[in-house]
Symmetry: C2
Subunit: 266 residues, 2 copies
């Protein structure tokens, strides 16, 4: 179905705008993703939006035409609207010319096939959606299987997290679990749990990494709880040559992940 | 001097609040930094705020008492105010109990002593203050000398950048320059310019790094201009195993910097 919407008070506009709030995303089971590149990534991964929202007066593009055709073919809806309304929906002053509304994924731990990838990233009580999206993006780059969010982490389906993931929200698996659920699951199969730590740790370079390797980072202010660290199979230290005693969480995950990639390939 | 301020319309409150805008920071030559830990880092680096702003009813702390004494001793001002007014000044709902007003540093390229550190980070047209602060924080961790911002980068003295730096704004040197100024400066002495690139590049692991090594990353959306890449002494590639063709800029800088640290120490 194809429609044109011109009014700010249109109920669909209100619904789409409400998806900026976690509460409404959860209730509707929907989230927003912006930009032709990201939507094309999703499409090539077999994920089509239920609704495609496009700016009137946008430039024609073969990938956009392909996307439109696929969404229509799958029984989805295509909306045309003004750039002002798109800006209101996405909360961005200069919105991308197209955005899509997707059904949220199943984030149960049981959807993770651990043997399908040599690396998995794990984040505990992550607060910053930019860090979360960046971890997904890094996971894509290092060939990780996905990201497991522990305890009370920020919502991975927020516009900010999806944006920072640069499309990796569609290529990486995503699971949400409490530690009490995660640890027994991890121990029910193969998997090495690794964290950066100052407690009984070995240098991160040359450490005995083994796949599937689960690289865990902690909350941005508090780091990992001590018992989480002590439950790890391997604790590693990274050089900290200055006054700071920690790295940004997404940075620490990336430096470790690239080391694990190199180590597993040797 | 010590004062207590209770009114939102007090001119000092208005001045402090205005420092959230780059225009006002530049006019006043001042910036804000929050939190006892960060202010203590600054003090231990010999940087005292001109003005210290503290919440009434804060917990006593020996480091805060030391800071207060030093600021008073140096002829600075100590202000006490309500938590509400602190929240208004810093733009944060739950503000830290203390913040300081610092004179902006001299960011001329001529203040950089390149031989004083084995690594320097360089960011071109960086747009995100969180990425900028994260690069300063990473620089501190890897023992870099500082961060050089090229072309139209976001302001390093914004509250967000200072916050993300976790105090490294005070431990890292900071320079701001245009490419046309940076390249001749670089070539006037020792210095290897390195960037992640897909053009005639070698694998980033085992590449022939040499100090002082200048690690350059590009704008978050566009990457580095081609001529900047071609002016590098060394172009390196990092594995990209997924669909994405790039990493977050601060992540790329960190992964490269840790590789350079390890390489220079071998």
């Amino acid at each position: 179905m194809r429609r044109t919407i011109t009014g700010f008070s249109n109920p669909t506009v209100k619904l789409l705008k409400s998806l900026r709030d976690k509460k409404h995303r959860r209730r509707e089971g929907l989230f927003l993703a912006e930009g032709l590149r990201l939507l094309t990534d999703a499409r090539e991964m077999g994920r089509l939006p239920q609704m495609l929202v496009m700016a009137q007066g946008r430039d024609a593009h073969p990938l956009l035409a392909a996307l439109e055709a696929d969404v229509m073919g799958a029984g989805g809806e295509v909306l045309e609207t003004s750039e002002d309304i798109l800006a209101k929906i996405t909360g961005k002053d200069n919105p991308q010319a197209v955005c899509g509304v997707f059904a949220e994924f199943d984030t149960a731990l049981s959807t993770i096939a651990r043997e399908s990838a040599p690396i998995w990233l794990v984040a505990q009580a992550m607060r910053d959606p930019g860090n979360l999206g960046t971890m997904l993006r890094t996971g894509d780059a290092v060939g990780a299987g996905g990201l497991i969010l522990l305890d009370d982490s920020v919502d991975p389906f927020s516009v900010e997290a999806v944006r920072a993931s640069m499309g990796a929200i569609f290529t990486q698996k995503l699971a949400v679990a409490r530690w009490e659920e995660f640890l027994p699951w991890l121990r029910s199969g193969a998997g090495q749990l690794v964290a950066a730590s100052l407690r009984e740790a070995v240098p991160y370079r040359g450490a005995p990494y083994a796949g599937p390797c689960f690289i865990m980072v902690g909350n941005e202010s508090r780091g990992l709880p001590e018992d989480y660290e002590m439950a790890c199979d391997l604790r590693v230290t990274m050089p900290m040559k200055g006054r700071a005693d920690s790295l940004n969480a997404a940075v620490a995950a990336a430096v470790l992940a690239y080391e694990v990639v190199a180590s597993l390939e040797d």
